[in-house]
Amino acid sequence: MKPKLWLAIPLIVLAFFLAAVGWRLSSPPNPTVKSRLIGQPLPEFALAAAVPGKPALTSADLKAGEPRLLNLFASWCVPCIAEAPVLVDLRRRGVVIDAIAIRDGPADIARFLADHGDPFARIGTDPQSQVQMALGSSGVPESFIVDGRGVIRYQHIGPVMPQDVPTILAQWEQAK
């Protein structure tokens, strides 16, 4: 090696460092972890109606050829109140929403729907969280987009907030 060449080594190291760090600054890491449930078929279930006068929910209802948004909620869950108006808005935009009420009672659910709106086509009741566990859901609220063949296409953990609407709608279109 010529004596002059080694002088450039630190500069080359610096250039590598700057390139790597600059790359990271321009493309921040995406912390979203893709759910393992995506692409999996729904578990089989048949839930009784959660409130009188509203249809019950079975897994067959979610294989009827059209995509559905499946929302897990509970009247005792505060974030569910926060997402309620967003679900009503999604319903208005043409998203068909079914729900599973987790560990809840008919009177409480009816009051919740009266207070915060009722965007749901069907509501099944899951008093022991059995279906919730089978779905791999860890809490309420949680929402799944299920395509017409009963396959989970998207999972949203936590309340659906206004900023999530574009993603949900895009996933909805894809599931069609």
Binding site: P3, K4, L7, A8, P10, L11, L14, F16, F17, L18, A19, A20, V21, G22, W23, R24, L25, S26, P28
Partner: protein, 638 residues
């Protein structure tokens, strides 16, 4: 009003830095400019210090109309944590960084008398250029004095997790060390500009490097102990990116410290010393950048702010790139230093520098490798302790072996090195190595570590043997104590690796466990509550012979933010530490318990403290000797 005064002082200091830089650039054409540059540097340091004092005052008064105070303080905090809160956030810590930079520049301007005018001027110009960029960063992208309207009724910074005396002192200690290296950087740049590299430069640089190195050593040792007791994993170094960010400047500074001695004593290693001075502060800036930008995943989480990150990255590019380019361009014209033989003090110091550089390169590559790989292939990988330990362990032992002989060699050439002096240490090493087999199986590295540590304990004292101890300069005492510290720290690390006994168990109250020589009875658990946490406290009684210890590890749950922590209960006895952690409750009423018996592990931090103490003694010795020489020179003139 206080905030505006602080901001005005900061702006004025920035303007003075610009003036200082411009005057230094114009330098030669203006003739004698030392008379101008020195007062400007001093005023700049004073104004920045004043601005920092204003920010402390705002925090002390909890002036919630200042955004930074509202976001990071609270009227109910104890006054001590209000003050410490000043630098416990991004803006405040950057202001602290700039304050240290400007005050160091002022001190250099005031006290540096060895350097020729031209070199000092160029150095202060470089220091002003450094300060200018960080002033701009503060004023344009991180204004600590920004107001908030409407004024909130209360601040948001009452996070009690951060109310820890260690966290109050740890960052400023490291910052002082980081930024102290800026002076070495500026001196190196000044020397490249004036093409004047020689012993005078080394003597000017040495106290700064020593001081910075002592503070970095203290900061790293304290940080290591903090991780040890706070994280509850029983380990003392995790190769976390933020730990590495503080280790890299320390490694460079350690190498620099040794090569400076060659330059000061013999006028050798000129280009190399300049390069190390540039690299040491570059590593400080890289470290600060990695920590503050949150660019690498770490247990120390800081918010990522791409705009600020880009700003600091631009500064890094200008300063490091500029200095390295200047180095590549100018170093050819630096006069070659004095020559020396392979077997000589210089030769040993060169070997020391090579090993330290390889360790530095290893840590640098390992820390950034995940980023390189993800940039190139998109794969996410992590580099963990197996890599770092496998490379740095043997290199550290090689470095320690070098210490057996290096300090005993003569300068320039040593035809007949005093091999008798290393016979005893080597014998001790071999005996310990052989004796270690009596203790059964352990990793080869730990066995070698014990042997080298024992030998080095003897070898480190050898340079004092046969000397008149009263006349031995303080700097030599410092060297001996630091090298002894290395032996002690290696002994602690090797002992921890070789002899630690670990017991993991699920125990019911009333059960008895054993770990190493200790019998530990699990007496039960109690609920306890603190100001903002609840905890389950386990009660353990440990007995060995006639000694009985009580340990109460806690499993804590904090309410805001909701976090669970394990508060380890650690008891130190003369020959080691008993380290206990209470885990979760299992079904069936059993509690997870983790018990470690760590013989002699405290030597690790004691060694770190000795290393720092040695540096401090050397610093005091050098400064005193300098003063004495100056006084003698003055008397000679009078």
């Amino acid at each position: 009003m206080i905030a505006e005064i602080g901001l005005a002082a900061l702006s004025l200091a920035a303007a003075l830095a610009l003036l200082q830089f411009a005057v230094s650039l114009a330098g030669g054409r203006l003739g004698e400019v030392r008379a101008l540059v020195v007062p400007v540097a001093v005023a700049q340091g004073a104004l920045t210090l004043f601005a920092f004092a204003m920010l402390i005052w705002l925090f002390l008064r909890t002036d919630l109309s200042v955004r930074l105070v509202a976001a990071n303080s609270h009227s109910l905090k104890p006054w001590f944590y209000k003050v410490a809160g000043t630098w416990g956030n991004h803006e405040g810590s950057m202001l602290l960084w700039v304050t240290v930079l400007a005050v160091a520049g002022a001190a250099l301007a005031l006290f540096e008398r060895r350097l020729p005018d031209k070199a000092l001027q160029a150095t202060l110009g470089a220091q002003a250029a450094l300060a200018l960029g960080f002033f701009a960063f503060l004023l344009l992208a991180s204004n600590p004095f920004a107001r908030l309207y409407p004024v909130p009724p209360e601040g948001q910074g009452l996070n009690p997790l951060l109310q820890d005396p260690g966290l109050a002192f740890h960052p400023p200690t490291l910052y002082l060390g980081y930024v102290g290296l800026s002076v070495a950087f500026s001196l190196a740049v000044g020397a490249l500009v004036t093409r004047d590299v020689g012993p005078a430069l080394a003597r000017a640089m040495r106290p700064w490097v020593l001081g910075a190195w002592v503070l970095l050593t203290i900061g790293i040792t304290a940080g290591s102990y903090w991780a040890y007791y706070e994280l509850g994993w029983g380990g003392w170094w995790f190769w976390d990116p933020v730990e590495n960010a503080s280790l890299m400047p320390w490694l460079a500074a350690t190498a620099l410290l040794h090569s400076i001695n060659v330059l000061a004593a013999r006028g050798g290693l000129r280009a190399w010393t300049i390069m190390l001075a540039v690299v040491a502060f570059s590593m400080s800036m890289v470290g600060t950048f990695l920590v503050r930008s949150g660019i690498l995943t770490s247990v120390h989480s800081f918010a990522v702010d791409p705009e600020r990150g880009t700003f600091i990255l631009a500064l890094l590019t200008i300063y490091i790139g500029g200095a390295l380019a200047l180095f590549a361009w100018r170093v050819g014209s630096v006069r070659e230093g004095a020559r020396f033989d392979l077997v000589s003090r210089e030769g040993a110091l060169v070997a020391n520098n090579l090993i330290l550089s390889v360790i530095l390169g290893t840590v640098f590559v390992g820390t950034l490798y995940p980023l390189f790989v993800e940039a190139a292939t998109g794969d996410k990988i992590s580099v963990g302790p197996p890599y770092f330990n496998a490379v740095t362990g043997p290199l550290t032992l090689a470095l320690a072996l070098l210490l057996f002989l290096g300090p005993l060699l003569n300068w320039r050439r040593d035809d007949r090195p005093n091999l008798r002096r290393i016979a005893l240490p080597l014998l001790v090493s071999m005996l310990v190595f052989a004796g270690s087999f009596l203790f059964g199986a352990m990793s080869p590295l730990a066995r070698l570590g014990l042997a080298v540590a024992a030998g080095l304990t003897v070898a480190s004292i050898m340079p004092l043997v046969g000397r008149n101890l009263r006349r031995t300069p303080l700097a030599s005492w410092g060297m001996v104590i630091s090298h002894l510290g290395v032996a002690v720290a290696i002994a602690g690390a090797a002992s921890d690796t070789a002899f630690t006994r670990e017991t993991l168990a699920a125990a019911r109250p009333g059960e008895t466990l054993t770990v190493g020589p200790w019998t530990v009875r699990f007496n039960g658990v109690d609920p306890v509550a603190g100001p903002n946490w609840t905890a389950v406290e386990g009660h353990l009684t440990a007995t060995r012979g006639g000694t009985a210890l009580r340990l109460d590890p806690q499993s804590r749950t904090f309410s805001d933010p909701p976090t669970e922590t394990n508060e380890a209960a650690i008891d130190t006895v003369w020959d080691g530490q008993l380290y206990t952690v209470l885990g979760r409750q299992e079904p069936g009423g059993r509690w997870q318990l983790r018990l470690w018996w760590k013989p002699m592990v405290t030597l690790l931090w004691l060694g770190g403290a000795l290393i720092a103490l040695g540096g401090l003694l050397a610093l005091i010795g050098r400064v005193l000797r300098d003063r004495r020489q100056r006084m003698r020179a003055r008397e000679a003139f009078a």
